[in-house]
């Protein structure tokens, strides 16, 4: 359907050690996974990140921000450095020279996983960036795989009783004025003018929270107004368009870091979404957004403009009855559901014209996205509460309302705040989302078996396949990797070999599977890949 992927920054908290350094705790999480994977894959499945092609200051509107003028948090192309003091604060003095360090003596802050994902310390949070996938079903599977990875790290950390246990939360705010992101990435042709993207996406982003918001207790960045709202993120957005992701957050982010052949592609970096545990909301988030991008590329996005979109975004989020209206520049007043229906109709029409939704000759995904999108909007339009099994903010609200009714709690009661927080605890025995899932109250889009497989296996139909297989198979000889490269250090070769992977749809199983089958050793594998040897006759 389209190359896409997710990024999740987890909330991190050690209840027995409040105030512990978040960056160091995050490093402990990454380190824990390195230990887990070392146990699983002989030779080690962890590989360093290659920062060569990171360009966080390139703006899609055609300029580059001066490093000196950028907020320090924007400089994501430098490996983070931890000083001894920070290490000591989080680990205790005696830990300085051992376990946490790899052979070169520094803490592991960045890993490439055998499933093609990246796991690393982003500012003060552990982040899982999924491998590139081609459809929303796989996006859900490999995003949920990140939650399983996160769970494995939490278990590993908890097993060491000499250090504080760490909880991870798949949410986006601490409700004390701090937010952290859940991002989506979509591959687009560079030829689409960025102005079209801004115009076509803004009304969609103002309204899509009604199907994929994760719900939040409290109104305002610091939650000072009691209440419940649809989105975790809405109150933290302050601009319509911009390069920043940590300050003055914009509805449309212009970071132009394609991680691919730059004159052909752009990677649209979407920062406005909530992290989703609900598979149905997550599926709709990726599926509908991908379809809207197709609308924009075809020049068929609804010709509408929302008046003051930042304000409108918050108006929509603060109204759980879905009856609030926002003003369009043509003077009409419409609800968020009206906006969603306009996009749905346009997307259904385009799919009809191009045939992608055809049950036989279609792409195998568009039909399902359209059908779930339509039924979710229909349900939300007739009885909001009836969408609880498919829409995350409605599901969370049903539990909160249950407590309010049973125990007579006001919205500012700490127990409701706890329900909101613990909804996203990634441990199945503690996370309230998982309690609902176990009770068959949440719709599944992918099987548990698919998620389990996605923890260790890369998607087969993107370059993530090549990256993941290289890491799993040749981990010992892979010294670095990134979205668009894998770097080998093969004994005897004398120099590093950097294999560029700048085409997201190459490096697939179809193109490289046989090559992996033929070679157990990195040297001959590389030699054949780089054309230095004729392929052996036998498979």
């Amino acid at each position: 359907m389209r190359v896409m992927g997710s990024e999740t920054e987890y909330g991190i908290h050690a209840p027995s050690a409040p105030g512990a350094n978040a960056t160091m705790m995050s490093a402990r999480i990454i380190q824990a996974y390195a230990t887990v994977t070392r146990q699983r894959a002989a030779g080690g499945a962890e590989t360093r990140w290659d920062y060569t092609d990171e360009e966080p200051l390139h703006d899609a509107r055609g300029w580059t921000v001066d490093r000196a003028a950028a907020d320090p948090s924007q400089l994501t192309d430098q490996p983070p450095v931890l000083d001894a003091e920070a290490v000591a604060l989080a680990y205790g003095r005696q830990e300085l020279e051992l376990d946490g360090a790899d052979e070169s003596g520094s803490l592991l802050m960045n890993m490439v996983l055998g499933n093609g994902a990246r796991l690393y310390v982003d500012h003060a949070h552990p982040e899982y960036s999924s491998p590139e996938v081609t459809n929303p079903r796989d996006a859900v599977a490999w995003d949920a795989a990140g939650d399983v990875v996160a769970l494995a790290t939490v278990r590993k950390v908890a097993a060491d009783t000499s250090l504080p246990a760490i909880n991870l939360y798949k949410n986006n705010t601490d409700n004390k004025s701090v937010s952290y992101g859940s991002h989506e990435n979509y591959l687009m042709p560079r030829s689409v003018p960025f102005g079209d993207i801004i115009r076509g996406l803004t009304p969609f982003f103002v309204s899509r929270q009604v199907i994929c918001g994760a719900g939040r207790v409290g109104i305002g960045q610091d939650s000072s107004t009691p209440g419940y709202q649809i989105s975790q993120r809405a109150d933290f957005f302050e601009a319509e368009v911009g390069l920043e992701t940590t300050i003055r957050r914009p509805i449309i982010n212009t970071r132009d870091e394609p991680h691919a052949t730059a004159d052909k592609y752009r990677r649209l970096h979407v920062i406005i979404g909530d992290a989703n545990l609900s598979q149905s909301s997550n599926y709709l988030k990726f599926g509908t957004t991908a379809m809207v991008l197709s609308l924009i590329e075809a020049g068929q996005a609804p010709k509408i403009e929302v008046h003051e979109p930042v304000q409108a975004l918050q108006t929509v989020s603060h109204d759980t009855t879905l009856t609030a209206t926002v003003r369009l520049l043509d003077g009409r007043r419409v609800t968020a559901l009206d906006l969603q229906w306009m996009y749905y109709e346009a997307a259904a029409k385009l799919a009809q014209e191009t045939g992608v939704a055809d049950s036989v000759s279609g792409d195998g995904h568009t039909h399902d996205v359209l059908s779930r999108w339509e039924s979710t909007l229909t349900t939300l339009g007739s009885d909001v509460g009836a969408a609880a099994s498919s829409v995350e903010w409605v599901a969370k609200k049903s539990i909160l309302e249950g407590y309010r009714n049973r125990d007579g709690l006001d919205w500012d009661d700490a127990r409701l705040g706890l329900v909101d927080l613990q909804w996203s605890d990634i441990r199945p025995e503690k996370g309230l989302y998982y309690r609902l899932l176990t009770n068959n109250r949440m719709l599944r889009v992918v099987d548990d078996a698919d998620i389990t497989r996605a923890v260790t296996e890369p998607p087969s139909d993107t370059r993530a396949y090549f990256r993941g297989r290289c890491v799993s198979r040749f981990g010992r000889d892979v010294v670095g990797a990134s979205w668009d490269s894998v770097i080998f250090d093969v004994p005897g070769l004398g120099k590093l070999q950097r294999v560029p992977t700048r085409e997201p749809l190459r490096g697939t199983r179809a193109l490289t599977g046989a090559l992996f089958d033929r070679h157990q050793e990195a040297g001959p594998f590389l030699a054949e890949l780089l054309g230095q040897n004729p392929p052996p006759a036998k498979a």
Binding site: A388, S389, S390, R415
Partner: protein, 67 residues
Amino acid sequence: MAGQEQQQPQSRETEAEVDVPEAPPAAPEAQASEATQGVDDLLDEIDGVLESNAEEFVRAFVQKGGQ
């Protein structure tokens, strides 16, 4: 779609969570509204897994900024 058929109450296979918060038993006058129908029986299960001392736990959850 919302109210699937009720499963038998899940046994609490949770890690030892000694002091369950002092939630009063279901108030008889609490009417299940449409939106919460079928949810109340789940609340008992959730009571058993909620962190104790909600106020302190929520207050201590302080994050550094992110993207």
